[in-house]
């Protein structure tokens, strides 16, 4: 029996909502289920902001969260009440049973549970106090209760708790006690017959490993597997955890990481290190990318490899630091002054984060240019079960190096002609001495403001990137769904592709002929393949999480054809239902036209 269960935990900052979610998804992943999860939290560390830990647990491959949850756990009713109607018919709501005399009318979630939903009042606070003489482990008590209710094995939970409190023996013991008392209490209550975990399905290929990890953790793993040796960065939500993980991992492999004074310094040092031959990277979010724009252009004109991991959040300015958005596409692809072409790749899932992060170093080296890996908060913080290959699929060194110079000839760093990629000498190499400059230059790298030279060098910088569209073992775009002509084609990018794909698959299930395309390489743009896909579609839908339709703008600058835009900026993932509704409307409108 296929399992497909979504569980949401809602609480206030400081309730341990996210921690409970971590333990739960680790336990379920440990049992062998596939997980997609995404947490929502406020910008403050404490205070009373809303926290949601949400996960979808499946045996089949899925691409996004569901619109409705099967189980809702409330750690704070004031925050959970608006989510009560997200629980499906015959789904469960688990909440605090304690006295509600101080609450205003309607302040208790019990008043909001629908007739079709199953209420599970639990004396959470009382049980927590009994088990640990403190009420801080309420979040673990409810996990114990949930495990009992769904009849899940203790082992996986206890292992996940031990992992969470690895260095805090006391907290681990208290949590275990809290878990057990919650589980015991569940024995006294009626079972939840409609939410049942089937046996997990193992899909592990020999040599491969399965891990449930976040997008940012996958980026780190990709960077490490590609041999990153230098990193410079400045903390910024939601990219910080990339730097934090690298700070722990890189020294173990002899690598060097430095927290710089700002993002300008970070990208400058990356460009310096790239010039000196290192595999260097930085990570940031939109505000940091704005600061990096000038040095990015220096990397472009100097033809210096650099990797920049960018995790977008709501903008402009400081915007919504802990909410997701896809509104830095224009900045990533076009940001900065002058004609400054660069490579921009945007993974669409956690597995893609791993592959793009590793491949970014290859692309930067092979095409001698800055490469931006563009994700967003949703993808950075989304957990998915990923199968990692036994051997990292990345090349260690793809530099094009100069051979021995013929006597009497001077090394030309920026030779024109051929595929426009010039052999690159590294400092320390005899006979390769040159100066990299932000000024326009001739083939030797000496400043030149001649019109002809500027034309030739501009062409070189643009032409060489076309080679990147043919880069081996890298998916630049991919089509899903029906082959040939379709009524509706959905084309999308980044984290939002998961919802787009789910919506398209659902629409197919409803008998609509449709297909979807994800575009991973945003710059240079895979115009030919995208145009071929669009030619197959009667209607084209472009859903994305920004107000302006930035991807639709990009698309239409390469392929002239009308598209329908679906733009939302709610700060959270798009609803599959909303995209599906739009597909239905477009398919129906098509039918209506035919009838007319």
């Amino acid at each position: 029996m296929a399992t497909d269960i979504q569980i949401s935990i809602v609480g206030s900052a400081g309730d341990g909502t996210i921690a409970a979610g971590d333990i739960l998804k680790n336990a379920l992943a440990g049992m062998g289920y596939k997980i997609i999860s995404f947490d929502v939290y406020p910008p403050e560390i404490r205070g009373f902001g809303k926290c949601i830990a949400r996960m979808r647990v499946t045996t089949e491959q899925v691409y996004s969260l569901k619109h409705k949850s099967d189980v809702l756990i409330s750690l704070d009713d004031s925050h959970a009440i608006p989510h009560a109607d997200e629980v499906r018919e015959c789904g469960a709501v688990i909440y605090e049973r304690a006295s509600i005399v101080q609450l205003p009318e309607g302040g208790h979630i019990s008043a909001h549970i629908g007739p079709g939903q199953l209420p599970y009042p639990v004396p959470v606070r009382e049980l927590a106090e009994k088990s640990t003489s403190a009420n801080r482990s309420r979040n673990i008590v409810v996990l114990g209760f949930l495990a009992g209710l769904l009849d899940l094995p203790d082992g996986a939970f206890l292992k996940a708790i031990a992992k969470k409190f690895k260095r805090k023996a006391e907290a681990a013991a208290a949590s275990e006690a809290a878990y057990r008392i919650g589980r015991e209490f569940a024995a006294q209550t009626f079972k939840l017959d409609d939410v049942v975990f089937g046996p997990p399905v193992s899909t592990v290929v020999a040599g491969a490993t399965v891990e449930m990890i976040s997008g940012n953790a996958a980026i780190v793993r990709g960077a490490l597997d590609a041999g990153i040796d230098t990193f410079f960065g400045y903390p910024i939500t939601p990219a910080t955890s990339i730097m934090e993980r690298l700070a722990a991992e890189m020294p173990r492999r002899g690598g060097r990481l430095l927290q710089t004074e700002d993002e300008i310094s970070a990208i400058s040092a990356v460009i310096g290190a790239g010039f000196a031959g290192a595999r260097a990277a930085t990570s940031t979010s939109g505000p940091g990318l704005s600061l990096m724009a000038e040095m990015l252009g220096m990397g472009v004109i100097g033809e210096v490899p650099a990797v920049i991991f960018v995790s977008q959040r709501g903008g402009p300015s400081t915007g919504l630091p802990t909410k997701t958005e896809q509104s830095d596409l224009h900045m990533a692809v076009f940001g900065g002054h002058g004609d400054a072409p660069r490579i921009v790749i945007a993974p669409t899932n956690v597995d893609g984060c791993y592959r793009c992060a590793g491949k970014a170093f290859e692309l930067a080296e092979a095409y001698q240019t800055p490469v931006i890996v563009l994700v967003d908060l949703y993808l950075s913080n989304r957990y998915e079960t990923v199968v990692f290959p036994a051997r990292p699929p990345f090349e260690a060194d793809v530099n094009r190096r100069p051979g021995k110079q013929a006597a009497g000839t001077q090394y030309k760093r920026y030779t024109l002609g051929g595929d426009s990629i010039s052999p690159r000498a590294l400092p320390g190499e005899k006979g390769g001495m040159h100066v990299v400059t932000g000024l326009e230059h001739n083939e030797l790298g000496r400043p030149s403001d001649q019109g002809e030279m500027h034309e030739a060098m501009s062409r070189k910088r643009h032409e060489k990137l076309k080679e990147a569209l043919k880069h081996p073992d890298f998916t630049i775009c991919k089509r899903f769904g029906d082959e040939g002509a379709v009524d509706v084609g959905v084309i999308s990018w980044g984290s939002n592709f998961g919802e787009s794909l789910e919506a398209m698959l659902k629409a197919r299930g409803e008998g609509i002929r449709c297909a979807a395309m994800k575009v991973v390489m945003l710059s240079p743009f895979p115009t030919e393949r995208v145009a071929a896909f669009l030619a197959d579609c009667k209607e084209v839908l472009v859903p994305e999480l920004n107000y302006q339709g930035q991807f639709a703008n990009l698309l239409q600058s390469h392929v002239a054809r009308p598209v329908t835009r679906l733009n939302r900026v709610p700060g959270e993932p798009m609803k599959v239902e909303d995209i599906l509704e739009e597909i239905r409307r477009l398919a129906g409108r098509k039918a209506a036209q035919k009838a007319a």
């Binding site: 410079f232 260097a280 100066v435 400059t437």
Partner: protein, 301 residues
């Protein structure tokens, strides 16, 4: 005053050629104005690289933007001519990627203390093993003579046509408090002393800061001229103790009569040492040193 000896041009040229320092000058001729103090700096740097026997391909000159920042083109080595104010972080990146390189960051007063001012304290406190040569002419020369953060109060320029209302920074005092492990001052009008200071600064293991006073002969006819500077500069007192940071600060505070020489020097772990320490702490293994060859020991004749 000793006896004045005649200098014959041919002899002098032969001496320069024999020294081998011309190997360190590129074929690109400097773009500076005739009489600019920076000519003597590029000569002195070439002489110092030669004296220290640093293979050309192991030297990297990194600069920002400004008259002085054209410097890398005039030295026969690797180089990066980067963005306004960013020489230090770029140099930090180069050095962090490859310890074996001799990295020299150069730039002007505007580049280092206006737009790039935020980077200086961090390069200094981290003790990045690079040399920072600051060419201070108290003016923005490349954009034709505007006010800089080391311009005097009352200085008139196209951007302060009545007068400059801001007091100038005291870079030496700043660097001493930022934690630079080698701080010195030289004057472009005293090339031999300048050369000796540059050699010392490059030989120092850690962040060495050399403040070089130089006139802008084209846009400053009133303040920082050869005539005025020549009268103002003095030597540090013979009994100055370069391990005494407070004494160095006291000397630096007298900026009306700038003292030349080594203000302060200390030995302490460099950024690379600290990062290698992290590798050890994490239980990792240090990678083999890459690419560049060790500095030649034998004298180059």
């Amino acid at each position: 005053m000793g006896e004045i000896k005649p200098v014959y041009l041919e002899e002098k040229l032969k001496e320069i050629e024999d020294s081998g320092r011309l190997d360190y000058r590129s074929k690109t001729l400097p773009t500076w104005c005739p009489g600019c103090g920076y000519f003597s700096i590029v000569e002195a740097v070439a002489a110092s690289l030669c004296e220290l026997n640093i293979p050309n391909e192991n030297a990297v000159m990194v600069s920002g933007i400004g008259c002085s920042s054209r410097f890398p083109f005039f030295v026969n080595s690797y180089g990066m001519h980067t963005l306004h104010g960013r020489a230090l972080p770029v140099a930090t990146g180069v050095k962090t990627a490859n310890d074996a390189l001799t990295v020299v960051a150069v730039g002007g007063d505007g580049d280092g203390f206006a737009i790039g001012g935020g980077h200086v304290p961090h390069a200094a406190r981290r003790n990045v093993d690079i040399t920072y040569l600051l060419f201070d002419n108290g003016i923005y020369g490349l954009t034709k003579g505007q006010t800089s953060p080391t311009s005097a109060i009352g200085f008139r320029t196209p951007t302060s046509p009545y007068e400059n209302p801001d007091r100038p920074l005291n870079p030496l005092l700043m660097l001493l408090s930022y934690g630079a492990s080698w701080v010195g001052q030289a004057y472009a009008g005293r090339p031999d002393h300048l050369h000796r200071m540059i050699t010392q600064a490059m030989a120092h293991r850690g962040f060495s800061y050399l403040h070089i006073l130089s006139p802008c002969v084209t846009f400053d006819k009133t303040h920082r001229t050869y005539g005025n500077l020549g009268m103002q500069v003095r030597d540090l007192p013979a009994d100055h103790d370069p391990t005494d940071r407070l004494a160095a600060m006291r000397e630096a505070m007298d900026d009306a009569l700038p003292a030349l020489g080594l203000y302060f020097r200390e030995e302490r772990p460099t950024l690379a040492d600290a990062l290698d320490g992290l590798v050890e702490k994490a239980g990792g293994e240090l990678p083999g040193k890459v690419a560049a060859k060790p500095v030649r020991k034998a004298a180059r004749r």
